[in-house]
Amino acid sequence: MAGYRVHEYDVLVVGAGGAGLRAAIAAAQEGARTAIVCKTLLGKAHTVMAEGGVAAALATVDSEDNWRVHFRDTMRGGKLINDWRMAMIHAQEAPDRVLELEEWGAVFDRTADGRILQRPFGGHRYARLAHVGDRTGLELVRTLQQKALSLGIDVFMETSIVRILKDSQRVAGALGFRRDTGELLVFRAKAVVLATGGIGKCYKVTSNSWEYTGDGQALAFWAGAELMDMEFVQFHPTGMVWPPSVRGVLVTEAVRGEGGVLLNSRGERFMFHYIPDYYRAETAETPQEADRWYHDKRNNRRPPELLPRDVVARAINAEIKAGRGSPHGGVYLDIASRRSPKEIKHLLPSMYEQFAKLADVDITKEPMEVGPTMHYMMGGIRVDPETAATSVPGLYAAGEVACGLHGANRLGGNSLSDLLVFGRRAGIYAARYANSLPQAPTFSGDEVETAANELIEPLHRADGENPFALQAELQETMQNLVGIVRTGDELKEALHKIQELKDRTKRVAAVGDVIYNPGWHMAISLGPLLVVAEAIALSALERRESRGAHTRDDYPKEDPHQASFNLVVSADLQGRPQLRKEPRPEMPQELKKILEEV
């Protein structure tokens, strides 16, 4: 792997999901020479799979909605340890970002008077999710992808970034390789925006694809930036459970938003038994009231099926453990008895197709079997709320790879809006920073050489472990020991196992050559996966309480004192992860008032 090609840009965006595309558009519009790098083909990023919708207080359906209520819902969903500045910016800017998509050609579902239609979702007080049936992500990605192409942004497809390059302290570019040829690529760039998405492939049962190996989080960690809130991993309550090969594939929350209910094997609508005190005042007490809410939101309270995801996932988990699960180890999600076949096919076309084709289930006639699936990473790279800058000059992050907005638990629909709001900000501020530098800082050739050698090593080992087998062991560990319900002892055991896997990673071998070689790619991904897994387990061990998505069996209560800090992980001088408690900034009076009043 000698020789490499050098490409030069002002801003390099890593990732072509919603956050990366939006960032690149913003950077290009600021006049920066911009390129996008992504691991897959353009338009295949995770965002394309998003189903339910994008949250924004457009108030087209419920005129009472406004940014204050959206802010409040987001903070309450996040159990108040969100970065309140991000939550405020997000709630204020989301409507403009959605309307802007419409300017660029997106076509959302409509209300009777021709405006954007919004649907109810868990934890959102009002109908707030702008959507396109259950294919919202597809619309969002296509619109942004076409906009980016029309601005002449260069795209390097099927290319992985493996290192951020720096001079002594600032970003100077990034090192990557083409997956289809193995060719090494060096990007000289003044600023880099990380928009690489999540970490799902740490877990066995997940709605995430092979791409989600925590690359961005690890790149930032290695470059000296900080990770925060890593203990908060969201398990979506409803993933498919059967057949085995689709276990974990997402069943959108829109099924419940459109009236679907959860039932146990006795046919009970069990969510009424799991309403936390915190949400009692705003949740319906009886099925009758819950059903009336869909038509009259003013005089009725929300169905408990629409409680935040952490609550619903734990409830399902408890029902299954208590022996009231379905034959394949889930519970039932029923829309068939609640809506006409025609409505179901119109509102949830891709769910209809997914179950018909993959599970032989006709969701207009019978209930689905569902269970929790690892879905979203609330934690990630710590950023400045206004500029999306990390602590490393020139390094920016947005989207699922970043953190702060969602706190201890993300509300549905708040990710797509996050991508647009903070993707744009990251692009703008990265471009402005880049424009302020006369030229890109320089990095050392040695650094490139060392990284390149490390990259190629697995291909040179004559024999060693199968990288896929190692990944499977990690997934098993995280699923069993760092899952929905955690204990101190199990977390320690997980850390022990992660250490062992780290050592064994140095001995994995990949057969074949550098041309489109998934075994080799997996060997490279083990590094990031393990960085992330360790950060999650360390943070989870340190937070001795249950809050949002983080549930400790040995500390089952939420502890108000622990709302005063976030946990931050960064590399020490030897590159090992170190933890610290970051005190949370005081919220201004007027925002506190919103939380109390609205």
């Binding site: 897959t40 083909l41 353009l42 338009g43 295949k44 995770h46 394309v48 799979m49 300017e103 660029w104 050609g105 076509v107 579902d109 409509r110 009777a112 021709g114 405006r115 396109v132 294919r135 597809l138 619309e139 076409q146 906009k147 192409l149 029309s150 795209v155 497809m157 289809d180 694809s209 092979w210 791409e211 059967w242 057949p243 085995p244 090969s245 689709v246 594939v249 997402l250 891709s350 197709e353 997914q354 084709k357 993959l358 599970a359 199968n466 990288p467 896929f468 087998a469 499977a472 990949a510 057969v511 074949g512 050559d513 041309i515 489109y516 070689n517 998934p518 075994g519 080799w520 997996m522």
Partner: protein
């Protein structure tokens, strides 16, 4: 569980062959499951594209027993259990390795299509469209860019030199989507004829047959586009009138059938 033989094309351009692998196939498995099992257990360097495993991203196109399909939406039970299931890469695109082909030409075509141009919004600044307005274009917006239609269109498959002349069905769908955007304000007729080469399509409907998003590519996208282009060339005066009156709607398929029956 049953042991099945999967026959996969292995190799690079001009240097490849089919190799048989045996894997355990479980209830409900799709072809992609079998391929990924081969990759995890027997051939870690087997190249294959996939992402969502749910028919949403359009990454996993291949020719399965000769049928162009998505591997993640094709159940193993579709094929007789006692015979191998043969999986080959898309034929119309240059091979990179194993099941992965170079589809980049599609992204070059995408760059040539001018972006949407919208009419100004109403006096209140709101862009109003009704559910009825958007219904027609909605079909086209479901395209997952699997490029199966590009792969089977014989204009391109049998005559690679035609790539320079004809954008292919996926991009006809994209152009139809723009044309039928309720607020669209552009005239693409020259572009359709001269650049996109809509005239090259001879309505064989092979593309429609393979589309996993069930888009009726030929009937609902290409034929209306052809009619638009025909309008321009037969009657420039009517075109001018149309512009003055606002854009002329494209007749719906059922109306077209009626018109044809009447004439």
């Amino acid at each position: 569980m049953a042991l099945r033989t999967i026959r996969i094309f292995r190799g690079t351009a001009g240097n490849g062959t089919f190799v048989d692998y045996q894997v355990e196939v479980e209830e409900g498995n799709v072809v992609l499951d079998a391929v990924l099992k081969v990759q995890a257990q027997l051939a870690p360097d087997l190249a294959v594209r996939w992402n969502c495993k749910a028919g949403k991203c359009g990454s996993c196109s291949a020719e399965i027993n000769g049928l162009p399909r998505l591997m993640c939406m094709t159940r193993m039970t579709l094929f007789p259990p006692d015979r191998p299931v043969t999986i080959a890469p898309l034929k119309a695109f240059p091979l990179i390795k194993d099941l992965v082909t170079d589809v980049s030409i599609n992204y070059h075509i995408a760059r040539q299509i001018p972006p949407l141009r919208l009419r100004p919004p109403g006096p209140d600044g709101i862009r109003r469209m009704t559910m009825d307005d958007i219904e027609r274009a909605r079909e086209f917006r479901q395209c997952i860019e699997c490029f199966l239609c590009q792969n089977v269109c014989h204009v391109l498959r049998d005559h690679p030199e035609n790539w320079a002349l004809f954008f292919g069905p996926r991009w006809m769908v994209r152009l139809a989507e723009l044309e039928m955007h309720p607020l669209d304000d552009d005239d693409r007729r020259n572009f359709l004829k001269e650049k996109a080469g809509v005239g090259y399509c001879n309505i064989t409907k092979c593309c429609t047959e393979v589309c996993p998003a069930e888009i009726r590519i030929t009937d609902n996208a290409i034929i209306p586009l052809k009619e638009r282009v025909a309008d321009l060339h037969y009657d420039p005066f009517r075109w001018l009138l149309d512009r003055l009156r606002g854009k002329r709607p494209i007749p719906r398929p059922e109306e077209r059938v009626e018109k044809a029956a009447a004439s």
